[in-house]
Amino acid sequence: MTEAGEAGPGPEAARTTACSAQAHAAVAAAFRAEAGHLTASLVRSLGDFDLAEESLQEAVVQALEHWPREGIPSRPGAWLLTVARRRALNRLSRDARYAAKLAALMREPAREPDNRLQLVFTCCHPALRREWQVALTLRAVFGFTTAEIARAFVASEDAVAQRIVRAKRKIVSAGIPYRMPGPEELPGRLPEVLAVLYLLFNEGHLTTSGSGWRRDLSQDALWLTGLLCRLLPGEPEALGLLALMRLHLARADARFTDTGDLVRLADQDRSLWDHDEIQEAVALIERAAAMRRPGPYQIEAAIGPATPRPRPSSRRTGRRWSPSTTCSCR
């Protein structure tokens, strides 16, 4: 792609802008899919959360500079990893104390088994405050910049930067391990992760109708919850949360007026609901229920489909749910 024409905003300039928007979208998409992988892979080889994460951030900045000009690479994730590793190498080579880490980084294969879960569990360790968990998850797993996190939570960039610095410092000084909790610890640890994901989802979901550009947090949260369900298929609460999120999204079009006000369930235009999506969510709830370990997310999700079910009479009076309606979706 050539540079924008000097003679003011011509077709070239328009094309560059379009391309830049496209590159932004590509960076966002590559991140959703890859940031966790990349950070996890870098943390493992470096044994240093901070360095891994900083290097990846630098790679993102480079992507935002290069992709609009040079086009989006065929494997965006691999591109980011290469750049991030190069940045880490540069930093390490400046410091002789890190000779061992440097050697590990040189040996590292480009791809390794999925260890994003370890990363998520580290970011959501109960020894970290909830707002630190949230900021760190967004940063390390989703690759949000500090500015993006600040925008998402209407906080100042300084405050967000502080949270991330403190969280990373505590990980190091308190000895929070980078590992997946064992089966006996999982019941205590999974709720922390699910709580962070639900919080992110709601933050995105309930405010997307607001003004201005913002990255869709609810899509990020949905994606990671889906990943969690795939990697931990025996955890009904993860499935319950996924179902709950999909139910919210299935009704999203009917939930807000054009001006962004909330529409009560009774007044919603049900033709705007995505009924296929609701059916899929119900199937998820059924799968979770079959494991016979109920929990708050499964219950909240099970209450959901009981309400959307079309009433025999068209009058929207029966908004109460009863055990029988809940049972009908088991």
Partner: protein, 123 residues
Amino acid sequence: MKYILLFCGTSDSAGPASSPEDVQRTYANVGDWLTRNSSRIGLIHQLQPPDTATTVLLQGQRRPIVKDGPFLEGKELIGGYCEIDVADLDEALELAKTWPGRTQAVEIRPVVPHDLPAELDRP
């Protein structure tokens, strides 16, 4: 990594006085716990109650003052401490959860490693 476990409680949490048998049983449980985890445990001490404490207040250039009581004035008190050496915080947590003593809470504090300047660990 080295940590100190602080065994914490509140001064009004004693509840009904425990029978000598209860006390005996607790000591026996603590003894078992120490034996089971001996490879990971260093110093361990139970402390006399806070009313036995004496505190020296250091005042920079001025002369130190001796105060007849504990430094922490609240209801919260530290009844004892134990040094442990484990792989990471998760192992420390696992150990703390099994503490059989009659305390309300166990606070886990990482120890500053000697090769690091203390400034790095200040909040």
